[in-house]
Structure formats: C-alpha cells, structure tokens
Symmetry: D2
Subunit: 334 residues, 4 copies
C-alpha cells in the first residue's frame, strides 16, 4: 500500500499516521519524488482501514498493491481447482454444462427437460424453485415443491442439481437436497447469505452481480470460502451497461481475466446475459472459445408456455446442436 | 401493452396468441400500419408474462404502457405521502435530516455525535450496527450491542433511530428497537428480505441499488408495500458509472423524476454517493435545491479514527454549517 | 410510431397534433385502452420530429416502431454484403484479418510486421499514421510520412492498407493512397467527417464509439452510406463500463445482434477492447466462434519499444499461433 | 509514477527498464515491500510511455501519481480563472447564464428569444447553426445563414453569442463572428478540431463527452490550451448510464471535483442532460447550489414547433421564474 501525500506536507502532519501504523506492525518507507512525497507500507496491510488513513488531512490518495483476496487468489493456490460433485467434474480442464428450465413448473416438464439435456451431454440439471422477480406480482416459483421435483429428476436421471437459494430460511432444505447451491446475481453482495451458505460446506455457484467488478466477485467468493465451503464456481452472466439491444452485456473477457487471478472454475450464462434465445448459441460458443470451464443454459420443452424467462430459453433440439458445436470448438482450441 | 409483430406474419401465426390472451380476459385490438402490424392489449395486463408472449415466433417486440407498480405509484395515490415517525415528520413539504456515524463504535461516540447532530437540527439518528463490507476480513459492526447503544442514544436525545438490517435473523430485534429500518443498496433486490421487512409494518428507508433503475427502485418499494408496510422512504445514494473521481455518481435527477411517479418521500445520501467528505456539503445543498424531502449524512466526531468510511464523514462543525446553508436554500426555492 | 397520451386528455387537446401530422401525410389511428389512450401513426414517420410531438402537453410518451436506418438495415437489403477490396474479400462468409502495428514507426518496422502478418495469413495491413491520443503531449503519429511508409509496405507485400483518418484536412491523401479508411471510436459521431469520408466512395472501417449503442453505430454507418460509400465495415472494439480489469468491455453479443439487423460485415478488435496482449488471443477466438466476419489485431515486432499501445500488441509468433487456432474455430462452427 | 513488478522478478529482468528510463533522465528508486517489489520514478514522467513500460514482462502494473494536465490544472495556476468576454464575465465568482434555442430557426424566433432571455438576466445567447444529429435525415441547422441570424441577434441585444462548431471547414466564419465557440459532447475527443479551435485564441465552451471521465475532459481542455486559447469553459451535460428515465445522467458532483482540480469555470447544461423540460428547473437550481459558475439553458418561444429538441426547451416564462430562483439560491449559499 502506498500513501500519496499532498504537496507541501511537513513532518509534523505525518507524525499521527506514523503512530497509527507503527502500532499495527506496518513498516513505512519514505519515497520522495521531485514533486510528490509518498510513503510505502509493508507488512500485512490487509488490516489497514483505507478510510481511516484517508481522514488524515495530509493524505491525497492511497494505492493498494496487494490483492485483497487470499483464499480465492492464485498466490497461495497456483493450480486450477477441480471439483468432483456427485460424480461429475468441473475445472482444471474438465468442462461441464449445466442445463435446464428457468423455473421448475411440473413433474412432466422437469423430467422431460432433464432427460433431453442429459441425452445431449449436460452434466448438471438446473431449475429454479425459488425465483427472484422484479415484481411482487410475478410468479416466484414452486418453492419447496419445486425442490422436491428437482430431487425426483435427479433420481430418474442421475444428474446432480443446481438451484438458487434466496433466503436463509431454507438453508436446511438446500443443505440436504441440492448438489450445487446457486447464489444469484442480485444476492452477490448479500453478505449474510454468502456467509451462511459458505458454512454448509457444499459446492456453490456464485453469479456476478449486474454491476459488480471482477474483484468484487472474487471478494464475494472469499466470503463463502472464509465461511467454510472451498468449492466455489464463478459465473459471468452479463453486466449492466447503456446498451439496450441485449438484456445485459456479456463480459467474456472475464474468463481470461479470472483465469489469471483465481484458481476457481468459471462458467458462463449466455441465457440471462443476452435475454434472447437466438443469441444463446453464438455466445455459448464464444465462451467456450475464450476458455470457459462450463456453461449454464436455459432449456425448455415449450418455451412459449414457460412461466418465466421463456424468451431466452432454447428448445432441446437447439441445445443438442449447440452441444455438438461446443465440442467441436473445444477440440479446436486445444 | 402493445405487441409489434414481425413483417409478413399471417393470421394463423397470430392465432395461438389470441387463444392465450383471450383466456386471460385481455381485449385485443389490431393496429395495422403501412409496414408494421401491431396488437394493442387492454385489460389488466399486469398479469401477462412478457416472456411468454416473446416466445411466439411472430412477435418482434413488446411495449408496456402502464406502470408495473400500483401501491408506490401516483395513479391511485396522487397526494404526497407524509409520515409521522416517533414525533418527527417527513414528506409532503416536511424536510428531515438523518445524521450520525457510519458505524456505532462506542457509547461515548454515539452519544456525542447524537447530541451534536440534534443540536444542529437533525431529526433522526443514523448509525450502523450491522455493516455490509466487501471484504470478509473488515470490521462488520457491533451487531446487537450496536443496536443497544442506539437505543441508549435515542433514550438520551429523543432522536428516532435509523439503522440497516442485513438478514432476517435479527428481524425481531429490529421490529422491537428500531424506528426506521434501512434496506441497503446491496440488498435492494434481496426480495426475501424486502418482503419480510414489509411484513413488520414499520417505516422503511430503501436505498437504491448501485445499478438499479428508478423503476426497479419503485418495484422494490412495491415489494415492501405489498408485504404490509406503507411507510417507505426512497433514498438515492449514487449509481455505478465509469467515472472514478467519485465513488459513485449521485443521480440528483432522481428527485424530480421520482416526484412525478411516486407519492413516497425521497432523501439523498451524499456521503456514500461521493465517498469524500469535502463533496458532501455541495451535493447536500444541490439535493435540497432539487427538492429532496430529506438528507442522510455521515457525521463522526473523530473521522480519522472511524472504524469505517471515515473519509466520507464530516465533523459536527461542518455539519452545523451545512444545516444552516440547507435552511437558506430551502427558503430560497420556496 | 405510437403516441401514448396522458390520462384524462380530451379531444380539444389532441386537435393541434392532428393538424400538425395531417399536414405531413401521416395517417392517425386511435387506440383506446382501458386506462390509456394512444394514437398510432402510419406513413413515412421518419420525417416526424419526436421532439416536436413531445412538446404537446397531452403526450406522455412516444414509441418508435420502425428502424431509423434504411441503407444499413436488412429490410431493403436482406442478403449479407461482401466487398472485394484490392483483391481481398470480406463479408458473407469471407473471413478477413487486418493486422499490423498500432503506429507506423519506421520503414524497418512496418515492412517487417507486414511480411510477418502476411505470412501468417492476414489479408489487410493496419497501421496508424495519424493517432488519436488523450494527451496533447503524446506521440501522435508520423502523419503523411506514415502514409508513405504504408504505401511502401503495400507495394512490397501486396496487402491493402487500413488506416485512420482524423481530420478532413487529409481527405485527398487518404482518397489516393488508402484502401480502407478507418473512422476511429472517438470520431464515430463526428458527423462532418462521416459525411466527407462517405463522399469519397471508398471502403470504410467504422469503429463503434465507447458509449455508442448498436443503433447509433448503424446510424453512423447510415451517414457514410447516405454520403455515398456503400462499403462500410462495422467494428466492435469495446464499450465503456464500470469494470476496470480491462480497458473497455468487449461486447461480443454485438456480432449476432448486428447480424440480425444489418447486411454489413462485422469485425472485432480485441486489442483495443482489452488493452492487454494476453487477453487478445482468447477474445479473438471468442469473436470467431460468435460469427465475426473478421478481426483487427495489433501486432508489433518489438512491443516493448512501441511508441504507442505496446501493452496490447502481440508478437508475430503469438499472431501466427492465433491464426492457426482461428482457422480451427472457424472450421468447428461451420 | 510507480512500477509494480511481478513477484519473483530478478535484477536481470529489470535491467532493460533501467536502461530505457535512465536515457530519459528519470531517477529510479527501489521500493522493496514484503511481497511486492516496486520502482518509484522521479523526474518529468509525463514523457514516459506507459504502454512501452507495460511491455516489459516483469512489470505487473503502473501507477501514475502526477496529474497529466498542466495548463488546465491548479498546480501552476492556483487562482480561479475569470474571463471577460464582450463585456460579460464568467468565473471566479462571476455567474453567467447562457440561454437560447437549440437551433436558430428564423429571424423572428432568434430575436424574440434573445430579447426574452436578456430581459430575464441571461448574459449570453446560445443557438445552434450547425447541429449534430444522430440521423442523416434529420434537420441539421441553417448553417452559415444561422450564424448570420445570431450576429443580427447580438447586434440587436448586445448579447455575446455561443454556438457549436462541427468541422474545421467553417473555422474562419467562427473566428470572425462567434464570441464563444462551443465544442459539442460528441466532438470532445475530436483532437484535430480541439487543436484547430485552440489555435484561433477565442473563448471555448467545451462539453464533456457522454462517456468521458473528468480527467479526459481536462485533457481535452489541455489540447485547446496547448493549441493557444487560454479561455476554456468546461460544461457538464450528462453522462451515459444504464438509467433510462432521463436522457443522460447529470453528474453534478463534477462541479466540486473540477473546482478542486482546475481553475477553469464550470457550467451546467440541464436541458441536454435530462432531455425533459420539466426537469430543467430543479436541476438548474441544484447546479447553482453545488457551486456552478453558470448555466446553459434551452429556451424556445414555441417549444412545440421547435425543429429540434423541443421537449427539453422551456418557455421564456419558465426561464424567468428559474432565473429569480437561481438568484435566491446563489444568495443562500454565499
């Protein structure tokens, strides 16, 4: 960490900072430039409050050098992580596709979709039992009945299930029945939930918030990991920009950037990012070409009758074609 | 709601839509332009799933005409709302300032600040007992002990207290001890929390999410109101943009825009929006000039020793001056 | 175009609008919903000023149905465009890579890079003679001497040249010596330049502005085409968002969205979008997988000695490998 | 400037950087932290190419300490600048309002508006003769005839005129007839135009680009000042964000931030920022309360018949009231 001081600062003004930081075992090194004076700080600067330091009138700016995340970072965990979840693998070269409907709607629907996506090569089944909806008047999912239908689908197909938790109220049910617990984009900085979900120790699929930086995404993963669970999968699902032609803007450069900074697997959700089914295939293939560890894709057997997000769901037929092309692209970049 | 159809669509393709919507008591009216064919929908269109309609291959685009919020909107509640909370008023011309430290740190601190801000004219005391922090390693507030100190400060000064809830775990404690329950920006779309807090029936201060549109803010208020509480105060606290000179970009046009759309009071938080104490006064005065119903301002007796957000806190002296100027601006725009 | 009227509007208030629009040969159709009254407008609405209509106090909102672009749109030009430029093809399935240094620096440099990229399969040579730089104190290119060196490189290698014009001052020189005239992102809405460049009738590479929507990009292309040149190549090169891990956010969904709306070829510039050379290859491959018609890539023989943008340039060796992988990805998605 | 090196770098890898920079008279100082090694650079670092340095494989990141602008900055020009332009003052406590129609449309219109805004206290007359329009099919202004009408209005009212230049083609006409030359938001980084306009030596009103940072705005001012003109007025007119309730998001915190960094006057354009006339007054008053040096406001005698931007124009009556309130707010904050 480096403190850049205001010009014309004298030693007496710096003294209180020296006292504060010496008490925290921080070593200070003066850096005197031609026009600017700085203080370099060495030691465990993760405990220093930037806010506290910024209050000293002589400080103009602070620059952090070290990454603020430890468990999620590559520094102490250089190799890619790979998880084996109910017999399926993801990470470190193991590619996995999570597919299924936006919402679980009925036994017929979830079983039909589960069988179709399994036949096409999906490794995990997704489906919402609890749905975050902008309007309190919209369909919010079948709740615990939806969880029950997902269990049934797992039993019939063997696919591990991925589904979103929205509240600590159902923590026990998720701990018991769900293979991968999803934290949605709108809850990425619901710190209470992150910690509680982390404490269960199950694999977690963490979606990037609509306006979260990649560093914030890694800090949210750090919350979960500090809570206990070490198996976090990061998911890019589009960020909010000024462009209105797509629902959000899919930030595929997140893949190589995260690859550099973290050992955690990275999956891409082109369905929620784009909001339109005809954009799903090209963006899914682009994600594979950029090196994603997996995809999460909405598939519905009757998109026009879907209770939620039908416009972005692809049919099992389109999904089947997409999987074939994704295989080809993976082979191409190897 | 208007459906814009793709060009060259024939009646057979439209038939399934007619069936779906007729079943929902929606009246359809054909609109045939020179190059574009449309269907206008009348009736209670709030129950129509845009997603479902978008799945029909003949539909190119959908345009919603009516506002999706009812309780928060002006249509059925044209007059400004005014709340009387523990003897203090806000809304419909009643201006209120909420002031206090970012975090409750000690009895000495909270009492000292409470007395100072009261003496300068603040109506409510703010102070965080539970703090959302990006890093799991940062100070996260005193928790229930912090709530206890806030109660003490209220007892000594008579100022009603405003503090943030982060998890349903403490719902009972908040219901019992807090005058205005704050939902933070990062939880604006934590729909489970919105609903639970609404069910308590207490006044709620709802902060706009960093990347939430004003319509989404109103929909979040709608969640709380649909849950039970009718006294929601909206708070603009900066949105996330590309500009890095300030922590966030304070969107003051939210004041007149919200004034037009909703009867709920609107307050502005210049401290969190800008992130720098020297920007607080000018932006607070700008908010007053734009017609805000109130301000929420961080005040700390020793900003440089604050455990959190010291850099954006002003001293009681600066706050005192700000309050005098705010009074003058209010008089000027009347 | 549809006018949504305020509630409770009576016929007398609408009368002035009827007069205004009837005079413009616009046919009006009343649409009366349960709570909202609208007027549908048919005819050539592209001549209607939305601003003028918005001034009538009875109008609440306007919705445009038709696309505002004609020459660039698919409606009157359904088939993909393909251009043959100095013997190289791009568009409608013909894939082309434009490669070269950010700036032309010396004869040795441009000839060396030109030979290398040609050997690896590039179709066009890029290189800046006039450079847009944020600081007036930075290197701004060799100017006309740079153009001269590009001509030399074309003569030696046969590669057509692509280079940026920044001012109408050099229009004649560009008309004479350049194969594809580039309009940079910062000039995408320099309407005077768009029109002048269009009037030359040469192929134009038009880069998307940092905060321009895809519709605005198409309207900028429309300017050029209305000016005369029909051979416009669109280029996505990253948009400005809150994320700071990359210089800009590469919006690859622009590829399938533009494919749907326009017949013009679309190329991707991963070098400027990301700002870091190690992100260029994964994003280039992603662009190919998403269906781009081409790439534009910065290649430098000595990146560390580059006078500009060295950090995002790849070496000829990395470029060679990228081209092999790009070929494989193209084969995979076919 | 500080170079942060990758971990585990050895002296041999740093050697080429030392050679490069020693040749540029830069003094290097090693900063060795516990986990990170850095090199502090002193001397005139404005000549160092960050790109060149970033190409050395041992460099992880670069941090610039000094501001990149000199003429526009406060460092060498601590006092606020005040300009006297054709008898009107702006800056350093002198408040000025620039008012008039979006476009000059006719003699009757411009004279009528000019007289009205003068009577209400405006200091300058604005009016577009050359209009930047997103569509090539829209009204683009009267051109030189518009300039002629502005001259006539100045002659009749004594108000100096402010109007936008879009191309160097008309540089001579602007140099001869215009008091303050406006550079529009879309041309803020049209570096050729900035330099040419600067060379005339006339006052310039420089609008912030829709996605430009405040630092980029100051660098654009630096271009003009380096070109010759020292009288630059900065104008905030809204930035592009995800919010759609307003045309752009007016960033009023730009006022105190720029005040700190530059001696140049800052004016606010609430008309273009918001896009709706009923938002103009509250945002204008907010700008005054935040300390703006002036306002630029669209006023039209018949907004509903305006050829451009009528929806954001206020009538002379509303303008008159706004001016009275603005005076009161200015008095209040003194």
């Amino acid at each position: 960490m480096i403190l850049i001081l205001k010009s014309g600062v004298d030693e007496a003004e710096i003294e209180p900072i020296r006292r504060l930081l010496t008490g925290q075992n921080i070593i200070m090194q003066d850096i005197v430039g031609e026009t600017t004076r700085m203080i370099g700080l060495a030691g465990d600067t993760s405990s220093i409050s930037e806010d506290a330091v910024m209050c000293f009138p002589c400080v103009e700016r602070i620059m952090r050098i070290q990454e603020p995340y430890k468990l999620a970072g590559r520094k102490f965990h250089p190799a890619d992580s790979m998880y084996e979840i109910s017999g399926r693998r993801i990470g470190a070269g193991e590619f996995a596709v999570i597919a299924g409907p936006c919402s679980v709607e009925s036994e017929e629907q979830i079983l039909s979709v589960a069988r179709d996506v399994k036949a096409s090569g999906a490794s995990f089944l997704r489906g919402g039992a609890f749905k975050p909806r902008t309007s309190p008047y919209a369909f919010r999912g079948l709740g615990l009945d939806g969880l029950e239908l997902l269990r049934l689908a797992r039993q019939k197909t063997g696919l591990p299930i991925v589904t979103e938790i929205m509240s600590q109220e159902y923590l026990d049910a998720f701990a018991e029945h769900v293979d991968v617990i999803q934290i949605g984009a709108r809850n990425m900085q619901n710190f209470a939930l992150l910690q509680q979900v982390g404490s269960i120790g199950k694999p977690v699929l963490l979606k990037r918030g609509l306006s979260s930086t990649l560093e914030e995404l890694l800090m949210a993963a750090e919350y979960i990991m500090a809570g206990g669970s070490q198996e976090v999968i990061l998911c890019e699902r589009g960020i909010r920009t000024f462009e209105t032609a797509t629902r959000n803007t899919l930030d595929l450069s997140a893949i190589p950037v995260l690859r550099q900074r973290t050992h955690l697997p990275v999956v891409i959700d082109p369905s929620h990012a784009t909001g339109y089914w005809h954009l799903v295939e090209p963006m899914a293939l682009a994600a594979v070409a950029a090196g994603a560890d997996g995809l999460i894709i909405e598939v519905h057997n009757h998109p026009e009758a879907a209770l939620c997000d039908g416009a972005q769901s692809i049919t099992p037929q389109v999904f089947h074609r997409l999987m074939r092309k994704a295989d080809a692209v993976r082979a191409a970049i190897r």
